[in-house]
């Protein structure tokens, strides 16, 4: 009972001002659609969005889309992230690799990733491999850059400590470089997660085949089903937010030693 009370107190102390605007917008939306103040084909009512979402969920169509989107998202993220970690470490550790590869990497990086879509579609078709390659590119850049910069900004002082204790190269990498670069590497991974989700939506727009959240948004638009499109927007936001949240939980867990403002 007392636990409930303290929880209630904690709830009372929370800042609810942030809820005013979204609740107000939803109310306005509800009122506009209820009194037919706007073209109903353009503005679906909250109820219609709810109905559409409920329909998609109960028919199993939503689960199918979600599973497809999330699994290709993760697939691309893992492929691109791993490649990025490897290349980033190589560039960070080896001067030769840095001189040879970094300038080209930085030039290629400035090509907007979506510009690769037409080429990917010619070279790899419209199917799953093409999508995963595209998502992997999106995850590859931030992990490479952040791993590289993380390793580059390792304190010389710390490296000198390792030299005093006569660490081997592997020990130096494992015990000094990796841990001290880890905050930035994790930032890279977080960015990679965000960008791979963006790329997943993009891949489903451009390489139209199979199931996916964005595929059904496009379908919804073509059939002028506003409810379906809005439901899709919400899902895109919610999935993105969940992925982010998980990434930050992971960071907190892994980097408890770091004073965040230091």
């Amino acid at each position: 009972m007392s636990a409930f009370k303290t929880r209630l107190q904690a709830l009372g102390q929370r800042d609810f001002r942030g809820l005013v605007l979204p609740l107000g917008l939803i109310l306005a939306w509800y009122l506009i659609s209820k009194f037919n103040l706007a073209n109903s084909a353009i503005l679906a009512s909250p109820y219609e969005v709810w109905k559409e979402g409920y329909g998609q969920i109960s028919s199993g169509a939503f689960a199918l889309d979600l599973v497809h989107s999330v699994s290709r998202n993760l697939g691309g993220f893992v492929v691109g992230g791993t490649a990025g970690l490897i290349l980033g470490s190589l560039l960070g550790v080896s001067r030769w690799a840095d001189r040879l590869i970094s300038p080209s990497f930085n030039t290629i990086k400035s090509i907007a990733i979506f510009a690769w879509i037409p080429l990917i579609s010619v070279w790899f078709g419209m199917g799953e491999p093409a999508k995963i390659i595209f998502i992997a590119i999106a995850a590859f850049y931030p992990t490479t850059i952040n791993t590289y910069e993380g390793i580059r900004s390792v304190h010389r002082d710390h490296v000198e400590v390792a030299r005093v204790f006569e660490f081997s190269r592997w020990q130096l990498f494992r015990k000094v470089i990796l841990p001290s670069a880890s905050p930035q590497i994790i930032t890279g991974i977080q960015l990679a997660l965000i960008y791979s989700w963006l790329a997943t939506i993009g891949a489903e727009y451009f390489l139209k085949s199979g199931h996916g959240i964005a595929n059904s948004m496009i379908d919804g638009r073509e059939h002028f089903n506003m409810g379906s499109v809005l439901f899709g927007v919400v899902v895109v936001g919610v999935v993105g937010a969940i992925v982010n949240q998980l990434a930050f939980k992971l960071e907190k867990h892994l980097l408890g030693w770091r004073n965040r403002t230091a």
Binding site: I194, L198, R260, T261
Partner: protein, 272 residues
């Protein structure tokens, strides 16, 4: 020199309220500082000596008791009271002379007079020729010289120094201590120096106020009856230093540092 610059602490008490608990930081502080006097305040960390300066400069008004400047209770900050912080706090986007000029933003001087007094004060602290330099080009000692010039430029009645040389190396520190002694004699204003360096306190102060922690109180006041300018090697100073040092027991820090709270912007990543 003018007779202005009397500072009185009367029964000053300061408490912090952290998570429902009350913490006494200062209790029963009584101190009378005469015009033109140089008072050093020493104490181990956590004895409230820096808090005392924050109250005197007016950055913190939440205390009991009275702090009076020339008989009037101080309220908020005022151009009559100058301060030099431990970190130089120069604005990195301004040049040396612009940084000193910050103190004159609200003065009634004309722009010609301003330029003149800025130049004079930069000369006073030995930085002539560095007017157009940016803080990133300055060493720690030079930055602190600029900060002293900024503290003095609007001619306050009293200058508060909060461990101004704490972050400097020993040679630079010794050099600046001599400088400060010279500047104080030239300007003839009241100065209060907070420090944890007993030698510095004795070398510069007419009086050394020794504080003790939990809650912050004045333990003892030691007169330093040696005429200025003083020599570091003076044996009389050494004896007083030993006397002051004998007041410090063996205290150890027992608490861990609490993690600083930041605005969690690092948590905010987004795609386009």
């Amino acid at each position: 020199m003018s007779a202005l610059g009397t500072l009185d602490f009367k029964n000053v008490k300061k408490q912090y309220h952290v998570k429902g608990e009350t913490l006494d930081v200062l209790d029963g502080i009584n101190l009378h500082i005469k015009p033109g006097e140089f008072v050093s305040i020493v104490g181990s960390s956590g004895c409230g000596k820096s808090t005392l300066l924050r109250l005197a400069i007016g950055l913190d008004d939440d205390y009991q008791g009275d702090i009076l400047l020339d008989g009037a209770r101080i309220k908020g900050t005022s151009l009559k009271r100058g301060i030099v912080f431990q970190e130089h706090r120069l604005f990195p986007w301004l040049t040396v002379e612009q940084n000193v000029g910050l103190a004159l933003e609200n003065s009634t001087l004309s722009s010609n007079e301003r330029a003149k007094t800025i130049a004079e004060h930069l000369e006073l602290v030995g930085l002539k020729g560095f007017e157009k330099a940016y803080p990133y080009q300055l060493s720690g000692g030079m930055s602190q010289r600029v900060a002293i010039a900024r503290g003095l430029v609007n001619r306050p009645e009293i200058l508060l120094l909060d461990e101004p040389f704490g972050a400097l190396d020993a040679l630079t520190r010794a050099n600046l201590q001599n400088e400060l002694q010279r500047i104080w004699q030239t300007e003839g204003i009241t100065m209060i120096l907070v420090t944890h360096d007993v030698e510095e306190a004795v070398l510069l102060g007419d009086r050394v106020v020794i504080m003790e922690p939990r809650p912050g109180r004045i333990k003892r006041t030691v007169e330093v009856d040696v005429p200025h300018p003083r020599q570091r090697a003076d044996l009389r100073l050494a004896a007083i230093k030993d006397d002051v040092l004998s007041e410090f027991g063996h205290e150890h820090d027992t608490a861990l540092q609490p993690a600083a709270e930041g605005f969690g912007f690092k948590d905010y990543l987004f795609a386009w």
